[in-house]
């Protein structure tokens, strides 16, 4: 296998990995949103778990979609 083919294979693997992370986070967010809806419908007074779920959802979006860690990465390093 020549160098170009290896590079393309690595790039494809990286793309697939990024897709897997994105899809995994979406599934998690969807499950938590359904859970929120259920809690809100049956027990609207449970504000603490609803806020906890919101914090957890925000954490996943900020870590995996907004890539907050990039802010603290060295200037030369790029994904």
């Amino acid at each position: 296998m020549d160098e170009k083919a290896v590079d393309e294979k690595v790039l494809e693997e990286k793309k697939l990995e990024a897709f897997r992370i994105g899809a995994g986070v979406l599934i998690l967010l969807a499950i938590m949103t359904i859970g929120e809806f259920w809690i809100g419908a049956v027990a609207s007074a449970w504000w603490a778990p609803l806020l906890a779920i919101a914090v957890l959802k925000a954490f996943f979006v900020m870590r995996d979609y907004m890539h907050l860690s990039r802010l603290f990465a060295p200037e030369e390093a790029e994904e």
């Binding site: 790039l11 793309k15 994105g22 986070v25 809690i39 919101a54 979006v61 900020m62 979609y65």
Partner: protein
């Protein structure tokens, strides 16, 4: 070759500054959203909420979350040089963002059994959703510009700061709604 390397190094140095600037903007914007969020709990407590349609809120929330997934897909596609997926992802995000906007302004605002002047809960609802919708609208304009430039081939895996900025801004809008959704639609009971 050296000129290209120097230009790329300079671009990456500026990228770090740009990122810091964007996050500072997001932080400052968060204070406004946060102020409205705290007002909701200060004025209504955890027992009261506006008399809104919970199902509409649930659907628009899912739409916004799915749009974030497609925006993330578009951004990572551009970072890996996949222009076709980038354009498709950006366009899908645009459409879903528009659906969210129609869901809130065109459906929820129209079917709500109260107006902006009908009490504290009503005022808070229209202020919070209106301010958020304005950000969604600016995000959509930003995405439209990025999509247009993307079609012209102005971005590359090495240089696509505008795409990253649009994606981060879009996800920020999503994060705000993640907190607003339970505060407006789920916590507390509507007045009888």
């Amino acid at each position: 070759m050296t000129t290209v390397t120097t230009a790329l190094a300079e671009y990456r140095r500026r990228l770090a500054t740009n990122r810091l600037g964007l996050w500072l903007f997001i932080l400052s914007d968060s204070f406004v959203f946060g102020g409205l969020y705290i007002s909701r709990f200060y004025l209504l407590g955890t027992q009261g909420r506006p008399d809104v349609n919970q199902f509409v809120g649930f659907v628009v929330t899912l739409v916004l979350l799915i749009s974030s997934f497609f925006m993330n897909r578009a951004e990572t596609a551009m970072a890996h040089g996949d222009r076709k997926t980038f354009l498709r992802g950006t366009l899908t995000t645009l459409i879903l963002g528009l659906v969210f906007l129609i869901g809130v302004l065109g459906v929820e605002w129209q079917i709500a059994p109260f107006g902006p002047g009908d009490g504290t809960a009503a005022s808070l609802f229209y202020t919070m959703t209106g301010f958020h919708a304005f950000h969604v609208l600016t995000g959509l304009i930003f995405l439209a510009v990025v999509y247009r430039n993307g079609r012209k081939g102005l971005y590359s895996p090495e240089r696509h700061w505008a795409v990253e900025a649009a994606a981060v801004y879009w996800h920020f809008i999503d994060v705000v709604w993640i907190f607003y959704y339970p505060a407006l639609y789920l916590i507390g009971r509507p007045p009888i």
